[in-house]
C-alpha cells in the first residue's frame, strides 16, 4: 500500500496508550476518518491528547496541535483567520476537539467567543462525563447521581448533585448553524454528522457521548453496548439542529428502562441501594423528557439570531 493510501485509512494511527475499549479513541478515529486528510486539528489537554501524542510518538497523520486545556477553540480561531488572511485556507477544514471538561467547564469562554465570531470551525466535544485524564473527577457534564472521585456517595451524598449542563443548546443559543449529538454505537451516523457539519460554513458543534472504561466502571468489551443503551434509555438523545430547527431525532427502535444502562456501571451502583430511588426517579424523568424530543424549532427565547 502506498503512503497516501495508508494515510487515508488511518489518520489517527493505532498503537496509542489509551485504555482498551476507550470510547473516545473510537470516536476520534471516526471523526478524523470522516473529515479526511485536509484538516488541521487543535486538541485540548485531556485523555485523547495525552495518549495519542506521548513524545516521541504521535498517532496523528494530520497536522495537529495541543496548546492548553481550555483554549482549543481560540487556537483554532487563530488558525482559521490567519490562513484566510494569508490566502492559504482554500480546501482546509479546521477541527477543535476537547473533552467535556475542556468544553463545558474551563473552555467555555473561548468556545463562546469562537461561536459568537462565527469562525468556520467544527468543534467536537468528547463527552465521557468527567475529568478522566486526572482520575475521574466530576465535570459540568457528569450526570445526576454519578459517582466520581470528587462526587463520591457517602452518608450525606448520592453522588453528583447536578444535571448535565446542556451544551448543545448552549451552542444553539449562540446561533451556531449546525449542532448535533452522536455516539460510538452509531458510527455511520457519527461520520455522516461530521461530514454534514464540514459542508456548512461557520461554527459547528458536535457532541459525542464516549463511554470510559475505568471512569464509568464497566468491562472494556461493553463500550459500544453502553453507548447504545444510553440512546435506547433516552438518557442520551441523538439529534441534529440546523439554524435553530431540530431537523432529525434518531429515536431508539425500542425504549429500555434507565436501569438497563445504569446497572452495568459501577459509578451508579449506589443508586440501587436503599435511598437511591429518588435519584433514579429523577433520571427516569430526564429520560422521559428526552423521549419527547421532536423535530421542529428549538424553543429559545431572547435576542438570539441564528446565522445562516
Amino acid at each position: 500500500m502506498n503512503e497516501e493510501a495508508r494515510r487515508v485509512i488511518n489518520l489517527m494511527e493505532p498503537g496509542h496508550t489509551g485504555c482498551a475499549g476507550c470510547g473516545q479513541a473510537i470516536a476520534a478515529r471516526l471523526v478524523i476518518k470522516a473529515a479526511g486528510p485536509r484538516v488541521i486539528v487543535a486538541n485540548a489537554t485531556g485523555c485523547l491528547e495525552v495518549y495519542t501524542t506521548t513524545y516521541p510518538r504521535s498517532s496523528w497523520e494530520v497536522p495537529w496541535i495541543h496548546s492548553l486545556f481550555e483554549n482549543a477553540a481560540a487556537v483554532a480561531a487563530g488558525m482559521e483567520v490567519t490562513l484566510k488572511a494569508m490566502g492559504r485556507y482554500e480546501g482546509i477544514k479546521i477541527i477543535a476537539q476537547a473533552g467535556d471538561g475542556g468544553t463545558a467547564d474551563i473552555g467555555m469562554g473561548c468556545i463562546s467567543g469562537m461561536f459568537e465570531r462565527g469562525h468556520d470551525i467544527l468543534y467536537v466535544c468528547y463527552d465521557n462525563e468527567g475529568y478522566m485524564n486526572t482520575g475521574y473527577q466530576r465535570s459540568g457534564l457528569t450526570p445526576l447521581g454519578a459517582r466520581t472521585t470528587t462526587s463520591p456517595p457517602g452518608r450525606l451524598s448520592y453522588g453528583n448533585r447536578t444535571r448535565k449542563k446542556n451544551m448543545p443548546m448552549i451552542a444553539v443559543a449562540h446561533g451556531v448553524p449546525y449542532v448535533a449529538t452522536a455516539t460510538v454505537s452509531e458510527p455511520r451516523d457519527l461520520m455522516r454528522k461530521v461530514q454534514r457539519a464540514l459542508e456548512i460554513e461557520g461554527p459547528k458543534y458536535l457532541h459525542i457521548l464516549v463511554p470510559c472504561v475505568p471512569g464509568w466502571g464497566y468491562e472494556s468489551e461493553l463500550t459500544v453496548e453502553l453507548a447504545r443503551l444510553a440512546v435506547e434509555t433516552n438518557l442520551f438523545p441523538l439529534f441534529e439542529v440546523e439554524n435553530g430547527v431540530i431537523t432529525k431525532v434518531k429515536k431508539p427502535k425500542e425504549t429500555r428502562p434507565v436501569e438497563d444502562y445504569l446497572r452495568p456501571q459501577r459509578r451508579f451502583a449506589h443508586l440501587f441501594r436503599p435511598g437511591g430511588e429518588e435519584i433514579l426517579d429523577e433520571l427516569r424523568r430526564i429520560a422521559e423528557e428526552n423521549s419527547r424530543l421532536e423535530p421542529g424549532p428549538v424553543r429559545l427565547f431572547g435576542p438570539t439570531g441564528s446565522k445562516s
Partner: protein
C-alpha cells in the same frame, strides 16, 4: 516620515509597517489606544491582516498562538491584569517556539486595582521564555517593534516590547516612521521553520515526560542566551538601515569614572538623564545604565559596562515582595564570583506615583555619601504609613 503622534498610535503604525497576518487583542487601559488604532486601520482598509476581537486576553493570546502555529506573523498587546490572565498561554507560546510579538503597556497589578504605570506586570513573567525589551521613548518603541519581529522570527522565540503605560502610550511626541519599502527590506516575510500544514503533517505540543522535558527547556534556555547576540546584531543592522540606535542590550551613559551609577529600565531613563546632568553640574559624577533587554538578562554587557564602578543604585518600578526590586537582584548576578560594586535597590513609582528629578538626585547623593548596599522604598507618604489619612 516625521509625524507627531501619541505613543499608542506610533506603535500601531509600526505594527502595520511590519505587515502582520494576524492581530488579536483585548482592550485594557493603558493599552486600549493601540487596539483602537489597529481596529481603525482594519476598518479603513489600510491594514490587511486577519483581525480578531477576542473574548478575553486569555483568548487573544490563544488566538495569536494558533495564527503563529499555521505560519502567520501574529501580534497582540496588553497590560497588567490582561497580561496576568494570559500567563498560561504566554508560557505555552514560548515553549512551542512561536515567534509572536506583543506590546506590554506597563501598568501596576491589582490589588489594589490601579490603572497607572509601573512595571510589575511584565517583570513578574520574566521566566516565561519571552524576550523582553524595554523602551525609553516612543521613537524607540517604533524602532523596537520592527526589530522585535526580526528577532522573534530568527530565533523562533516570542518577543515582548515593554513600554510604560501613559508615560509613553499616551504621550504625543514627534516620531520618525520608516517608509514601507525600507521596513520590507529590513523585515522580509516570515518563513517559519515549522508550521501546521496538511501537505506536511506535523504534531505540535506533544506530552513530554521526564525522559526529554528537561532537554527542551535547556534548548530554549540556550537559545535565549544566544538571543543576546541576535538582539545586538539586529539593533546594529537597524541603525545601518534607519540611522537610529537605542542600545543593543544595555546602554551606558557617562559611566566611566563615575562615583555612582544609576540603573533602570524604560521611560524613567529620560528623567534620570536630566538628574545626571544636573548632578554633574553640581560636581557629582553620576553615570547611567539603561537595561534595554531584561530577558535574556545581559550579564556580560552589564559587567563590562560597570567595570571599575564602585557604587550602583537600581531604581525600578516593581518589587519582588519579601526581597527587593527584581532588577536589582539580577544585577547582582552579573558579578557572580567576582568583585562586585555595592548594589542597592530603590523601589519607586509604584502604581503611577511620580518620580521627580530631585528624588533621583537625592538617591545619587545619598549613595555617594554612603555606598553600603541597601533596599529602600522611595517617595512613600509618611502620613499614610502612620495611618493618619486614608
Amino acid at each position: 516620515m516625521r509625524a507627531i503622534l501619541e505613543g499608542s498610535k506610533a506603535v500601531a503604525e509600526a505594527v502595520r509597517l511590519c505587515r502582520p497576518n494576524l492581530v488579536c487583542a483585548y482592550p485594557i487601559t493603558p493599552q486600549t489606544h493601540i487596539v483602537e488604532e489597529l481596529s481603525r486601520m482594519v476598518a479603513e482598509g489600510s491594514l490587511d491582516a486577519g483581525f480578531v476581537l477576542a473574548e478575553s486576553e486569555f483568548g487573544a493570546a490563544s488566538v495569536v498562538l494558533g495564527g503563529s502555529a499555521v505560519g502567520g506573523r501574529a501580534y497582540t498587546a496588553t497590560s497588567s491584569q490582561g497580561l496576568l490572565l494570559m500567563v498560561e498561554v504566554i508560557f505555552n507560546i514560548a515553549g512551542l517556539r512561536l515567534p509572536v510579538v506583543m506590546t506590554c503597556a506597563n501598568r501596576a497589578v491589582s490589588a489594589p486595582i490601579n490603572i497607572w504605570n509601573d512595571q510589575q506586570d511584565s517583570v513578574s513573567i520574566r521566566d516565561s521564555g519571552w524576550i523582553q525589551l524595554y523602551v525609553e521613548d516612543n521613537q524607540e518603541a517604533v524602532d523596537t517593534h520592527i526589530q522585535a519581529f526580526r528577532i522573534a522570527e530568527e530565533l523562533m522565540i516570542p518577543v515582548m516590547v515593554c513600554m510604560d503605560g501613559y508615560v509613553l502610550t499616551h504621550t504625543v511626541e514627534p516620531v520618525d516612521l520608516p517608509e514601507q519599502e525600507e521596513v520590507d527590506r529590513f523585515l522580509p516575510p516570515y518563513r517559519p521553520k515549522y508550521r501546521l500544514d496538511p501537505d506536511d503533517p506535523f504534531t505540535m505540543g506533544a506530552m513530554v515526560g521526564p525522559e526529554a522535558y528537561m532537554e527542551t527547556r535547556y534548548h530554549l534556555h540556550m537559545d535565549m542566551m544566544e538571543a543576546r547576540s541576535v538582539i545586538r546584531r539586529v539593533a546594529e543592522e537597524y541603525a545601518e538601515s534607519f540611522g537610529r540606535y537605542h542600545g543593543g542590550l544595555v546602554e551606558a551613559y557617562d559611566v566611566e569614572g563615575a562615583d555612582v551609577v544609576l540603573v533602570s529600565m524604560g521611560s524613567l531613563l529620560g528623567t534620570m538623564r536630566e538628574a545626571v546632568e544636573e548632578l554633574r553640574e553640581e560636581g557629582l559624577k553620576v553615570g547611567l545604565l539603561k537595561i534595554r533587554c531584561f530577558r535574556p538578562f545581559p550579564k556580560e554587557a552589564i559587567h563590562d559596562a560597570l567595570k571599575g564602578v564602585g557604587v550602583v543604585g537600581v531604581i525600578e518600578k516593581d518589587v519582588s515582595l519579601g526581597l527587593e526590586g527584581t532588577l536589582c537582584s539580577e544585577m547582582r548576578a552579573a558579578f557572580c564570583g567576582e568583585e562586585s560594586p555595592e548594589i542597592s535597590s530603590f523601589v519607586m513609582g509604584l502604581g503611577g506615583r511620580d518620580i521627580t528629578v530631585e528624588e533621583i538626585k537625592q538617591v545619587a547623593r545619598e549613595l555617594a555619601a554612603d555606598p553600603a548596599c541597601r533596599v529602600e522604598f522611595r517617595g512613600l507618604k509618611e502620613e499614610l504609613l502612620r495611618g493618619d489619612e486614608g
